[in-house]
């Protein structure tokens, strides 16, 4: 081997090392490969790679590997230059470090050979430590990009569930699941200020919190707990500060938790918070990336909340606040929708229902009693129609019912009759049994204007009233003619 100039040797070894490092896509494999190559290149019995004070990998100690971390501080500090490798005896150690670009890594080798490491070997190890340091930096960058990608994927799941109007509970659950999985947290919870009791802070979603603890910390005064602090301060807070609430603190300290929380807001007001907790003491701090991730999840919970409250407000505008039935506008919308889904073999009909005797209740028992009666009546009406039929409040004591999918007109008449019979049963209003009745007009959809359909049912209802109340009439052209001739108010 006389023709092996040493500088050529080290250049080739470095080239092999670079090629070896670039072969691997994950850090564990790259570390394994690097320590193997260190042993092979230097004929070493032992090789280790240390980042900061953490041993990323070592080879040569076999079953005694656990002893390696304790040996490193003295070797890295230069306090010792030998390593006793089990089975190989005392070996001379060489350390070269790469301390730049935020990476502090050390390559350690040791071998039994009595020859000291020569200048070329020392230089080669230094160059290898640089190569490894740069590779480590690349891995860190890649892994942070992968984490970012992972975060974006989680957030897009939440965004989709918001846009699908999956329901606030579902969206908040997916926020909790996302945050727990991404941050690998042991527990997470979301609290919102209770709508009906603004002094309370209610647990609305949680993950990893035992059932008995959930019951214990379900409702706490606003401002207490780490979620209370986030709510009060309107910013992300870390749980190293004292936690006020005994229950929440009690739980988090039970699991030896480190926690952080971020506020959730709606229309410019802080209305809740999301908190995550980690068991035990293995974690010392949260990285900036983790804090940023929690804030992003909180932001998404806020969007979901605002969206849900907007939907709620929209629904409020479409529903009658007294009976919670669709109002005239919504009923019209649904009617239009039903017609667009029209099946030629089946028919739709509208029932127009006007109460008989309601004015008397209002006059004798007061408007409160009248409202109570309307509320109960709306509920009873909903039971008397078929599932899927739509009951709406037209106004005053007038109600409309949309019947879908009728095979024959007799079905509509049967339903009208069932309603009439059902409403004859007395209602309990203010402790008194109240008897009222109704008159119903039925109009079948013949493809005319929708507003005409309700109007025709209305005409038929008047005909029913004229024919003695407590009955139904089906609209026909004759009905219209008769009504035009003898229309008089009946109440």
């Amino acid at each position: 081997m006389g023709s092996n100039p040493s500088n050529v040797w080290s250049a080739h070894q470095l080239a092999e090392f670079v090629a070896g490092m670039s072969d691997h896509r994950d850090l564990t494999r790259a570390v394994d490969s690097a320590i193997d190559q260190l042993c092979e290149t230097f004929d070493a019995e032992f090789a280790a790679i240390v980042e900061g004070t953490r041993v990323l990998g070592s080879t040569g100690f076999g079953a005694h590997e656990v002893a390696v971390p304790d040996l490193m501080p003295d070797i890295l500090a230069g306090a010792t230059t030998t390593v006793d490798v089990p089975g190989a005896g005392t070996c001379t150690a060489l350390v070269r470090s790469h301390l730049a670009d935020g990476i502090h890594c050390h390559l350690v080798i040791a071998r039994t050979s009595p020859n000291r490491f020569n200048a070329e070997e020392q230089s080669l190890l230094r160059n290898m430590s640089r190569v490894f340091g740069l590779s480590l930096q690349t891995f860190r960058l890649l892994s942070s990009l992968r984490e970012r990608q992972h975060l974006l994927e989680r957030l897009s799941v939440i965004q989709r569930s918001i846009s699908r109007r999956a329901g606030l509970d579902n969206v908040l659950s997916s926020v909790i699941t996302g945050v727990v999985e991404l941050l690998e947290a042991d527990a997470a919870l979301i609290r919102l200020v209770a709508k009906e009791h603004p002094d309370d802070h209610v647990l609305v979603a949680s993950h990893g919190v035992p059932e008995n603890v959930v019951r214990r910390i379900q409702r706490i005064p606003v401002g207490s707990g780490i979620t209370g602090r986030a709510l009060r301060e309107g910013t992300l807070v870390l749980g190293s500060d004292p936690i006020q609430d005994v229950n929440e603190r009690g739980y988090f300290s039970e699991i030896g938790a480190l926690s952080m929380a971020a506020p959730i807001h709606d229309a410019g007001n802080n209305v809740g918070a999301i908190a995550v907790a980690f068991h035990g003491s293995s974690r010392r701090e949260f990285t900036e990336g983790e804090q940023e991730a929690l804030s992003l999840f909180a932001e998404h919970a806020s969007i979901a909340l605002t969206d849900a409250r907007t939907v709620e407000a929209m629904e409020m505008a479409m529903y009658d606040p007294l009976t919670h039935l669709p109002n005239r506008v919504l009923f019209h919308d649904r009617l239009a929708q039903a017609r667009s889904e029209h099946d030629e073999k089946r028919h739709s009909a509208v029932l127009f229902l006007d109460l008989d005797g309601f004015k008397r209740v209002n006059d004798t028992m007061g408007h409160g009693a009248g409202d109570e009666l309307l509320g109960d009546l709306a509920l009873r009406l909903s039971w008397l129609v078929r599932p899927g039929d739509l009951v709406g409040r037209h106004g005053g004591d007038e109600f409309t019912v949309l019947l879908h999918g009728l095979e024959q007109s007799a079905e509509a008449e049967a339903i009208a009759q069932r309603i009439l019979d059902g409403l004859r049963e007395p209602f309990m209003v203010g402790g008194h049994a109240v008897q009222i009745g109704a008159s119903i007009g039925i109009a079948f959809d013949d493809g005319d204007q929708l507003s005409d359909l309700v109007a025709r049912a209305d005409l038929a209802m008047y005909a029913a009233k004229q024919h003695g109340r407590g009955r139904f009439e089906v609209y026909s052209d004759q009905t219209a003619l008769r009504n035009r001739q003898s229309w008089t108010p009946t109440l």
Binding site: M1, S3, H12, E16
Partner: protein, 400 residues
Amino acid sequence: MTAPNSQDTASAIATRWVRVGRSAATDAAEAAREVTDQAGAAGAGTKLLVVFADHRYDMRLLLAQIIERSATDELIGCSTAGEISPDGAGDGGVVLIAFGGDGFQVATHSAEFIAENMRDAGRAAATAVAGLPEQYEHTILMMLTDTFAGDQQEVLRGVYHTLGAEIPVVGGCAGDNLQMVRTYQFHKGRVLTNAVVSAAISSTAPFGIGAKHGWQPVGEPMTVTSSAGTIIHELDSRPALDVYLEQFNLPHSITDDSVAFRRFAMRHPLALARRSGDPLVRFLRGACPTTGGLQALAAVPEGANVWLMHGNEDSVLAATHAACDEAFAPITDPPLAVMVFDCVTRRDMLGDVGIQRELDVINQRSAGAPVAGLFTYGEIARIRGINGFHHETLVVLTVG
């Protein structure tokens, strides 16, 4: 062929024995009967059976019959490119090496589908050591593996990571009589391929391992400028095949006959430079005329410094002496047995007469202890450091 050790007497060391059986019978059941009888495998205290068999046997029947007729089912083994027994080198037969006595402790292990992750396979094979019921002062790991699965040095890296410097490793790659199609590894009654089988052997007396090749470099050192795993595309930025053919003044037409090329390549391997100056020999398995590449039996990394090698009978036999010197150095008394893992390329180069000369050298050193082993497609001897996979090398194991 029974070779009971003459020291079967009182002391702990003397309660250990190694006996060898050999059969040329082609019928598996008959061969099993012969080798177990000769090795006294049915005797109480039998701890480990090591089987080397021609790849054409009905392997399942062979192993089942050997185990049936033995006092233990702790068995490892493999198919061969020829068997070595106290009778000399042979083909088409079976050799059984039985270890027994209180002074040995044994545990075996196998890992399959090793091509998927050679390093993990090595780690798995190494767990045999943890399975030892008791560990005496001297422990080795014997390992038999499938050369076609991939880079065998990866297996050694995995073993070293698990066992460290403390446990020497010895063994070789199974053969198939140069068919280069499929090799088998044996574990207990199972016949495996794409596998590594291992036996941790712990003993009250020392083992010795020697590994030498005897090849000499020719020409100037070169750089592997392009390679992928076991395929070498370029040497010094030129098609590797061109460089190889030019070095040895060979016509391109030799690549038309893959058998002829392989036969030449066996005697003219590649060597990788190492710091110690003792290069790692790499057998070239074939050439690809269309891409101009060479295929080695183990990975040749890009950037590596390599030489082409050649050998002659004298240099190869000089290595036999040197390997014996190394293997006999740790033992003071005559050995119980000597095991040989000899590269099939050395057999090819030395011929029948030369191989007998090699075995005569070993037999002379063993002083009457049985010598047994096989011709391999790659040899394993990790004595110090992490490097332990060899090509075109003779590995000698003395059981002290």
